[in-house]
Subunit: 424 residues, 2 copies
C-alpha cells in the first residue's frame, strides 16, 4: 500500500471545483462533477479495470478476478454541497480506489483468487443539494427510489436530473454489478472521535430522520400602502416557523435531536410587496424515533395555532422519512478486527447524517467506517481531516475489503448474491 | 367625454397579462409589458398623436397644438407587480389618454389654442419588482437617478434593464418633451376614502421612506450532523430580524409607521445544509421622518445584539431614502376646484407609497389624485375599484388637464419650462 499515492490523488481531486477557501463546489451533474467523474474514469481504466455507468449515473470500476462471480462494492460519492468540503464523499471514493488496488495487488502476488470480485463505486447525487432527495444513486440501486421518478426530478432552474446527466455524458446504460456486500469510509462530520482521541468509528446504526414540507399561504399586498393590521404576511409567519423548528429541540436532552430549515422560497420576492407564499423544508433527526415524533407533534400543534393567529393557511406534508437502520453485528466485528490488525483504536458510533451505506445496508450486509473530523464541521469549506487520519482509515478499509472478497459476512456457496433492483 | 370608451379600453388593457384571479402580471420589460406598450403605441398613433420613446423606455404620446411650446404631462405606468392588480398604474394611464383626447377635442371645437401642449406618459418600471429601485423611469426623467446606472441594473436572472428593454424594442432614442407641470390619478391603495365615503383624494405629501439592505453571514454546515450548539445558522438569525422589523412598529401609534421584509435570498438553499448567508430588504415608511429614524435606531441596536448572541456577522446598509415631499398648495387648489366643478367630494390625503408624481414633483409643480380602493388592498389580484369611481376620477383629471394646459400653476410668459435632465 502506498499512502503517498493515495494522498497525491486525494489532494489532486480536491483541486477539481476548488473554492478560494479550500472547499469544493461539485454539485451533482455539473461541469465540476463531470471533471471529477472523468478523473475517476481515467484512473479506473488506467488501472486496467472495467468502467460501467448505470442508468442513474452511478459509476463502477470493476475488478473481475472470477468471471461471473458477484461483487463486493466499496466506495462513496464525488459530488459535494455548494461551497462544500473536500473530504465529504471524496475521501471514501479515493480510499476505495486505493484499497481496491492494494487488494488486487495482493491477489496477484499471492496467487489466491478470492470467491468474490471487487468493484469501486462513485454514487450519483449523494448530497441532494441540486436534485432532491439526497442519497439518490445508491437508493435507486437499492430499489428504495424509482429510477424514472428520480431522473424526472428538477433543480431550481427546472433542469431534470436526466437532462443534466445526459448533458455531461453520464446517463449510462451499463449493467449494474451483482452485489453481495458493501463497505464505505467517510469523515465523521461530528466531534465524538476527535474528543475521545479514537481513530476509527464503526457505525452501528443510522438516526431516524424525517422532513416536513411546509407551505405558508398569505396574501400579497403593497408594503408601502397596507396598514400593518390588514396584512397576512407569509414571510412573518414563516419566520416564526423557522424559530419554532429551532426551539423545539430544547424540549429534549442535549444532542438528542437536531433540526433545521435549510431551504426556503419566497413569492413574489419583491422588496415592496408583502409575501404571498413561502415554502420551506424542515429537517428533524434523532437516534430515537419517539423524539422526532414528539417534536413533529409539537410543531404541528404550534403551526396550527400560528395559522389561526395570522389568519393564513399553512400546509404541512411529511416526506423523506428514514427509519433507524442497524448495521449487521457481523460487519461491526469484521471492522473492529481489521482495526485491531492495523493497530488502531475504535468505538461504535451512530450516524446522524444519511449515507450511501445506509441505503446499501437495506439490501446487502454493509460496513460503515468513520475517521475524525476536526471541530466536527462539515458541508462547508473549512471541513478538515488530517492526512494521518485519512491514511489510517485507508489501512482499515483495505483490511475490510480483503476480508469481504474472501467471504467475510457471507458464505459464497450459500449466497447467490443480491441482484440490484434495476439493471440498466 | 365618453366614459363608455374609457371603460372599454380599461377593461381591454386588463386582459393583457391577465391572471386567473382577475389580476395582471406585467413586470417591467417582459413580454406582457411589451403587449401593453404596443397597445398604448397603437392608441396614440391612431388618435393622431406623436409617439416618443426615450432612453429609459418611457413612452410619450405628444399632442402639439403649438409647435415648440412646452408640455403638460399626464400619465402613470402600465407595468405591474408579479400577480399584481389591474388598477395600479394602468388606471392612471388609461384615464390620462382619455382626458387628453377630451382636452384635444375641446381645443379643436373651441378654436382656442392653449399656451402649453399636452402629452400622455407611460413611465418605465414604476413597480421595481423586477429591476430595483422602483419609480425608475420618472426618477431618471427628473434627474434623481442616473440613466446609465439604471440601465445597468439586473433582475434576479442577471438580465440588465438595458438588455430587457432592447429585447422588447423599447430602448428608445427620442427626445423627451420639455415639461412645465404634471398630473396623475391613481387608486388610493388604502381605506381612507372608502371609509369616509369621499370620491377624490388630493395628495398633499408623500411619506418618508427608507430601506435597509441586511446581510446575515453565518456558517454553512450539515443539518444532519452538526450539533445545535455548534451552529451559526444565518436563517435563524434572519427569521429573528424579520420579526424585529415587524415588531418595531408596535413602539409607535397605530398606522404611524409601516414596515416589511418582502425580499429574501438564502444561500446555499439546500434542504440539508445550515444556511451560510441570507440577504434581505427591510422597508420602513412613516409620515414622520423621526419615527422612521427611531425605528431604524431600535432595529440597528437589536440586530447588533442578535449578531453577538448568534456569533455571526450582520451587515446593514441604508438605501433608497426618500424624504417627505409636499405637493404645491396651488396644485391642491386646482384639483379641489376641478372636483367641485365635477360635483365630487374631496379630502387631502398623504401617500404612503411611492409614485411617479412624487419624482416629477421634484422638478415641476405636480398634482396627484386618488380614487377609492375597495378594502384598501393593492399589489395583489383582488385589488378593486368600481367603474363609477374610475369614471368620476377621469372627470376630475380632465378638468385638471384642461386647467394646466391653459396655464394654471404657471405663467407661460414667465416660465420657459423645465428641461428634463437627460434628453435621450
Amino acid at each position: 500500500m502506498s499512502s503517498a499515492d493515495f494522498l497525491t490523488d486525494f489532494h489532486h481531486v480536491a483541486t477539481i471545483g476548488a473554492t478560494p477557501r479550500q472547499g469544493v463546489d461539485r454539485e451533482a451533474a455539473t461541469a465540476e462533477d463531470a471533471q471529477s467523474r472523468a478523473w475517476f474514469s481515467k484512473w479506473v481504466t488506467e488501472a486496467g479495470y472495467t468502467l460501467h455507468v448505470d442508468g442513474i449515473g452511478n459509476m463502477f470500476g470493476l475488478i473481475e478476478w472470477t468471471p461471473g462471480a458477484p461483487f463486493v462494492l466499496v466506495g462513496s460519492h464525488l459530488d459535494s454541497q455548494p461551497l462544500g468540503g473536500r473530504f465529504d464523499g471524496a475521501y471514501g471514493v479515493l480510499a476505495a480506489l486505493h484499497a481496491a488496488r492494494d487488494v488486487d495487488e495482493l491477489v496477484t502476488t499471492s496467487g489466491t483468487v478470492p470467491p468474490f470480485n471487487l468493484a469501486v463505486v462513485n454514487w450519483f447525487n449523494e448530497e441532494g443539494g441540486r436534485f432532491a432527495p439526497s442519497v439518490m444513486g445508491s437508493s435507486v440501486f437499492a430499489g428504495l427510489f424509482d429510477q424514472e421518478q428520480m431522473l424526472d426530478t428538477t433543480d431550481l432552474a427546472g433542469v431534470t436530473a436526466r437532462a443534466a446527466l445526459a448533458d455531461i455524458g453520464y446517463l449510462g446504460t451499463d449493467l449494474r454489478p451483482v452485489t453481495v456486500s458493501y463497505a464505505e469510509i467517510h469523515i465523521e462530520q461530528g466531534r465524538i472521535l476527535e474528543r475521545e482521541g479514537i481513530a476509527i468509528g464503526v457505525v452501528d446504526r443510522s438516526w431516524y430522520t424525517q422532513k416536513l414540507d411546509i407551505e405558508v399561504l398569505g396574501e400579497q399586498s403593497h408594503t408601502g400602502a397596507t396598514a400593518m393590521a390588514d396584512r397576512h404576511d407569509a414571510l412573518v409567519a414563516a419566520a416564526k416557523i423557522i424559530l419554532l423548528v429551532r426551539e423545539v429541540t430544547a424540549d429534549f436532552g442535549e444532542d438528542a435531536i437536531v433540526s433545521s430549515v435549510g431551504q426556503l422560497t419566497l413569492e413574489p420576492n419583491s422588496p415592496i410587496v408583502v409575501a404571498r407564499r413561502v415554502r420551506l423544508v424542515a429537517d428533524l433527526r434523532s437516534g430515537d424515533p419517539a423524539i422526532v415524533q414528539a417534536a413533529r407533534a409539537t410543531l404541528l400543534e404550534k403551526i396550527a395555532a400560528l395559522a389561526v393567529e395570522h389568519d393564513i393557511q399553512i400546509n404541512v406534508t411529511d416526506f423523506d422519512i428514514r427509519p433507524i437502520r442497524y448495521f449487521p453485528e457481523d460487519g461491526l466485528l469484521v471492522a473492529e478486527q481489521a482495526a485491531v490488525r492495523a493497530g488502531l483504536s475504535t468505538r461504535r458510533i451512530q450516524t446522524m447524517a444519511g449515507h450511501d451505506s445506509v441505503a446499501m445496508n437495506t439490501i446487502v450486509p454493509s460496513i460503515m467506517l468513520f475517521v475524525p473530523s476536526v471541530d466536527g464541521v462539515s458541508h462547508c469549506e473549512r471541513e478538515f481531516t488530517t492526512d494521518a487520519d485519512m491514511v489510517a482509515g485507508l489501512a482499515v478499509l483495505t483490511e475490510v475489503a480483503t476480508d469481504l472478497v474472501h467471504g467475510a459476512l457471507l458464505d459464497p456457496a450459500a449466497t447467490p448474491g443480491v441482484l440490484p433492483s434495476v439493471r440498466a
